[in-house]
């Protein structure tokens, strides 16, 4: 599935027919395993870097941040971050990012929220497709980019994302405080995504391997949507003009974003 600025998805909570078991509220807040296969559009990244080189807004660092899946607010989720370092080299990282405030209970001050990330250096020029597993268990987030590397970071006092909307292909479809819609604020992703699976229960290594090697076999085995608290599972093989089909049984078919859905 090709995603771009005019084609992002919302994990919607419009359960019009009472079929949903696991709702978006718990996504990324509760423990989870998320699998995603994607390929970035490098031309798009380099074009954005080029445009930003001379933009005073990027005087301290020229970067492009693209969100594969995430929640809005102080954005959290899986990002592909590209920046030009001090030696003028372009570097790419696949990173899971979140905001936390360890002392919130004693000092509830949002200005003291801090950003954290688990990050793996990648080289899209050489790598092609990425198979990424993100896990969050026992207050530890691990990002594993298969065949490349992994990173684990502790979580301490994740801020409240329960009211946030959950997105695929951006960190938000909403405009910024000035009402502007732009790549930087929305972290729009341009590229292809061909598999996405998210659940709260841990997944066996065999099933993770199967998901990446032969998703239809995993799908056809069937899912325990209740027991594994699965949110969504799709390889984007079946889509309509409005939705991408969720095979998990949770009915969380991705909804092609249109501002009408949340008006």
């Amino acid at each position: 599935m090709k995603l771009h600025k005019d084609y992002t998805y919302l994990f919607h909570d419009i359960d019009r027919h009472g079929v949903r078991i696991n709702h978006t509220t718990g996504m990324l807040l509760n423990d989870f395993t998320a699998l995603i296969r994607f390929k970035p559009d490098l031309d798009n990244i380099y074009q954005l870097l080029e445009e930003r080189k001379d933009d005073p807004q990027y005087s301290s660092a020229v970067y492009v941040k693209q969100c594969l899946f995430g929640k809005n607010g102080k954005h959290t989720g899986l990002f592909l971050t590209t920046f030009i370092d001090e030696t003028n080299l372009v570097k790419h990282f696949i990173e899971y990012e979140w905001w936390q405030n360890p002392n919130w209970a004693e000092d509830p001050d949002p200005s003291k929220d801090e950003v954290k990330k688990a990050s793996v250096n990648v080289e899209p020029e050489l790598d092609g497709w990425y198979d990424v597993t993100v896990t969050k268990y026992n207050n530890k987030v691990t990002v594993k980019v298969h065949s490349i590397g992994e990173d684990t970071v502790e979580v301490n006092g994740l801020i409240d994302y329960s009211k946030s909307l959950m997105w695929c292909g951006s960190a938000t479809g909403l405009p910024d405080d000035e009402g502007e819609i732009n790549q930087e604020f929305q972290c729009l992703f341009t590229g292809e995504v061909t598999m996405l699976h998210m659940q709260e229960a841990t997944m066996s290594d065999d099933n993770i391997k199967l998901a990446f090697l032969n998703y239809p076999t995993l799908r056809d085995k069937g899912f325990d949507v209740l027991g594994d608290a699965i949110y969504i599972s799709t390889n984007f093989e079946e889509t309509t003009e409005l939705k991408a089909r969720d095979y998990s049984g949770n009915g969380m078919h991705l909804l092609k974003y249109n501002k009408e859905w949340i008006s």
């Binding site: 919607h12 419009i14 019009r16 027919h17 309509t240 049984g249 859905w261």
Partner: protein, 485 residues
């Protein structure tokens, strides 16, 4: 003391209704109750008339009753305004609850929900007439606004759950083979005869049809909705006469919502003739809307087994043909979800979605060219989904619910193509009914035995092969053959 308790309960129900509900329904209920607690406008405004059996009822909940021929002699509108019905109207106007309307009284007495008397009285074919009906004496005749008629039971199909009342093919089979060997002697002609529901053969003179045509010019002027059912209506000359009347009428009732049921399995020349008539009616704007109601309950050969006489591909081609050649018309596919529907309903959902995509247009009376109206079969019980082993088959139905939800529109918007909330909810309701906890295992076992007996006899009589058509149900079929009670 009892009186106090009852009024407290009524108050609670009233409050809950207000909380649950729509302001409009509350107002309608209050107006009805101001006349009497049993008042329902449908007793005047709505009627179904089975001309081929001489039976009528207003609202589908009360049983049909016989139309006395002697009443028709003086008054053809007695097809609807029977003395029997007038006595029920009298009860309503005098603050009583007619016993035949117990479906609604059960709802009202046992839940905070609005009953159908409120919904039906709130319809656009009822609500505007409240004042005139209230002032009307119970003896007065009243022209209904929503009329369903069947002229004949002549039909080229004999669907597994249907019967002689609505299919001449079924009459032929029942005459040849007698009733099916189920505990209720399914489709026993003698039972029909004793109930006075034996259809008049389509070649015989039918005094009810004769009365209808006397009444029609007057009735037509007042109609909001007119729906022709059957049998197969397009095999009846009276259906064509209706269409020609509308085409030729100098001053047509342009507010009329016209609907015709058809199995769309009739000869090609009749399909072409129907298209030609629709085009003439559409082009001249002679009706407010024209909807064809057709039926299919499964996909491919499975659908053909259920609806004996159906050629599935030709049926589908005919839907495409009508939607292509009639740019305004809509088709509603009425699906009677039964035990044999479950394993191939998903491709049907998919197929109808594709029709919606291909033919959806703002030029049509309704933007969605096709609607899928799924209702679960209740009778005969032995063919309902409740006879199937739930553990094995309910997940298949749930998968269909999820698939339909996937193809559903995310909000009500005429421009969006996909399944509406109502369409999805009706299949969800079917699942809920299948998995309902209130089932009597012994009764189910008896019905499963009837399922086995019925389809064994079906294959013998009709030369069909259940297990070949439904290999996924073979194990269950074999189980039903072995049931000993």
């Amino acid at each position: 003391m009892i009186g106090t308790k009852k009024s407290a309960l009524d108050l609670k129900k009233e409050q809950t209704r207000i909380l649950l509900g729509n302001h409009d329904y509350n107002l309608t209920k209050k107006k009805l109750d101001s006349v009497g607690c049993g008042m329902c406008l449908a007793k005047w405004t709505q009627t179904t008339i089975h001309l081929h059996m001489g039976q009528t009822h207003s609202c589908h909940h009360p049983a049909t009753h016989k139309i006395p021929l002697h009443e028709l002699k003086r008054n053809p509108s007695a097809l609807h305004n029977t003395k029997f019905k007038k006595m029920k109207r009298k009860e309503m106007l005098e603050g009583k609850r007619p016993a035949e309307c117990d479906y609604c009284w059960n709802v009202e007495d046992n839940s905070p929900q609005f009953s159908d008397r409120v919904f039906k009285s709130n319809e656009s074919w009822s609500k505007p007439y409240f004042d005139e009906i209230k002032e009307l004496g119970w003896r007065e005749d009243y022209n209904p606004k929503y009329v369903e008629v069947s002229f004949s039971n002549l039909c080229n199909f004999k669907c597994s759950y249907c019967g002689p009342s609505f299919s001449s093919k079924w009459v032929e089979e029942a005459k040849k083979h007698g009733p099916y060997p189920t505990q209720d002697n399914f489709n026993d002609l003698n039972a029909l005869k004793s109930d006075g529901k034996m259809p008049i053969h389509h070649t015989e003179h039918n005094p009810y049809v004769e009365a209808f045509w006397k009444w029609w010019p007057d009735l037509y002027r007042d109609l909001h909705t007119f729906r022709i059912t059957g049998g197969e209506p397009l095999l009846s000359k009276d259906t064509w006469k209706i269409l020609d009347y509308i085409i030729e009428e100098k001053n047509p009732n342009k507010k009329l919502n016209l609907a015709i049921n058809s199995n769309l399995g009739i000869p090609d020349n009749l399909i072409d003739r129907l298209i030609e008539k629709i085009q003439r009616i559409e082009d001249d704007g002679r009706v407010n809307e024209f909807i064809i109601f057709t039926s299919v309950d499964a996909w491919g050969k499975r659908a053909e087994y259920i609806r004996n006489g159906l050629e599935f591909n030709r049926f589908w081609d005919n839907m495409n043909k009508i939607l292509t050649k009639c740019p305004r018309v809509n088709i509603t596919v009425m699906s009677t979800f039964n035990a044999l529907s479950i394993t191939s309903y998903k491709p049907l959902v998919d197929g109808i979605y594709k029709l919606k995509k291909e033919y959806g247009s703002t030029d049509r009376y309704w933007v969605s060219a096709v609607f899928l109206d799924s209702s679960y079969l209740r009778h005969p019980i032995h063919q309902t989904i409740q006879v199937l082993p739930e553990g094995e088959f309910a997940p298949i139905l749930w998968d269909t619910v999820l698939y339909m939800d996937y193809l559903g529109i995310p909000k009500f918007d005429h421009q969006l193509i996909g399944y509406s909330d109502v369409e999805v909810q009706k299949i969800k309701r079917t699942y809920d009914w299948m998995t309902s906890k209130f089932k009597d295992p012994e009764a189910i076992l008896r019905q499963q035995r009837d399922f086995g007996r019925y389809f064994k006899a079906h294959d013998e009589r009709r030369g069909t092969d259940f297990c070949k058509t439904f290999p996924e149900l073979e194990e269950f079929y074999q189980f039903t053959q072995a049931i000993q009670i």
